[in-house]
Subunit: 234 residues, 2 copies
DNA sequence: CGCCCCATTGAAGGGTTTCAATTATCGTGG
DNA sequence: CCACGATAATTGAAACCCTTCAATGGGGCG
């Protein structure tokens, strides 16, 4: 079997400022150093935001991957989402003024930090910034609505198929189109997020491999039949 | 058995302007008649918004109940959510500029219509309006995040328990605290929304009734043990 | 009153989880 | 560099939950 680890381009799994969700409001000096701290580093497994603490920054992922999670009353971790380069984290805090999730680096990660107060204040005076935030919020809501339908309706096979496809799709949107994907999260994290068990995730990966839809080798996935993967998601 | 229909107060299942999500920006003349058309009536089963048409209005439910839904590629209806008095509908359209769902009255319904363009324009000049919309958007995102966790993690029992509790809770927030609930939607709608079958929903209602948690009589629910209902949701 | 639709209930089948055992992978220290 | 231990991932078998298919019961409306 082809070693799917060969074409690994982990160093390229970062986002250029042009393709970042902040887009044109960031690259010019519109956002100066008082508002934005660029490329701050967090090591793998570092929890750098704790739920219910006051919101001081929004984060934009530059390189690496993060997960947001809460812990339920039994102390179990419940993963809310994964964030990849270009994603903005923390917009839900506009309402609560505090973080609604814990935030943990899945790999060594670079983020841009946006100072909350200053940025919120900037929205009052700058229409371009304001419109951007409206669009980000509204877009988030659209995505979440789709996600709710997804989780309410889909069985295990579809969940995993769409999960893998969405990783592909999100990298593609940010200019890293490749059928080779390195999972930055463990099977346990995937299972937790999808509301399945580790065993089920593992079994479905094996099944997809038998069906010739993808090659699985630990954290490395090679999508052999993208159309079939999409079809499985329906 | 006590006839739980007796304390029906369908006429009171409307919201006063003071408790509406628009709050203080609406009751004063801040929103004039050019922006807001009050208490427009739609009959039961009327589809008054079609997906993908340009967004012309936001809607705020005054009396009655609505559902939003899309149809998948097989033509099946997939319910996205139910809207009760006080709820604002259409904020996700800020990004797409068109409606992302069909909108159908579950009962005879009164809504307030907010003209999209004029309202968006008002945000440019009025900070109070702007902040309100930011908060509504951000709050929606918080709610959706919780809903995603809910649907990704919860089994059938919990789904139905939380669904019933959330109806109770939403009426309570808007000043109609009562353990008697009239379901405005069919079992099919509930099942569709929760990602279950009609049969499963029916069986769980029966089970809850046997456990003494609630009385079920068609569309009328009486919550006999709220704590147990909440516990079942976990 | 009767019809139709909605809701309930039962039995069988399929999918997911649970429990248990094995295998692979990663990091560490010899 | 290899060996080792710990952790992560895979695989199998049994139990459980939910769906599917089928039949019955009940309420609303003409």
């Amino acid at each position: 079997m082809q070693d799917i680890r060969k074409p690994l381009r982990s160093s390229s799994y970062s986002i250029s400022c042009e393709l970042c969700s902040l887009g044109p409001i960031c690259t010019p000096i519109l956002l100066n150093d008082a508002l934005l701290e660029r490329k701050k580093a967090f090591p793998k497994d570092h929890v750098f935001v704790t739920k219910d603490t006051p919101c001081t920054h929004f984060y934009i992922v530059n390189t690496g991957a993060l997960k947001t999670y809460v812990t339920d009353q039994d102390g179990n971790e419940q993963i809310n989402g994964f964030y990849l380069p270009g994603d903005v984290i923390g917009l839900d805090s506009i309402y609560t003024k505090k973080y609604n999730n814990n935030l943990k680096a899945l790999t060594d990660t670079l983020v841009c930090e946006l100072h909350y107060d200053e940025f919120i204040a900037l929205m009052d005076t700058n229409k371009q910034v304001r419109d951007l935030v409206f669009n980000l919020l509204s877009r988030d809501i659209c995505n979440y609505q789709k996600l709710i339908l997804f989780f309410s309706q889909k069985k295990a096979d579809s969940r995993l198929a769409i999960f893998i496809y969405s990783l592909y799709s999100r990298y593609e949107q940010h200019g890293h189109s490749s059928l080779n994907i390195k999972l930055s999260m463990s099977r346990a994290d995937i299972a937790n997020y999808l509301g399945l068990t580790i065993e089920t995730v593992s079994r479905i990966f094996s099944k997809f491999q038998e069906l010739g839809i993808l090659s699985v080798q630990g954290k490395y996935i090679f999508i052999k039949d993208l159309d079939a993967l999409i079809k499985l998601g329906n």
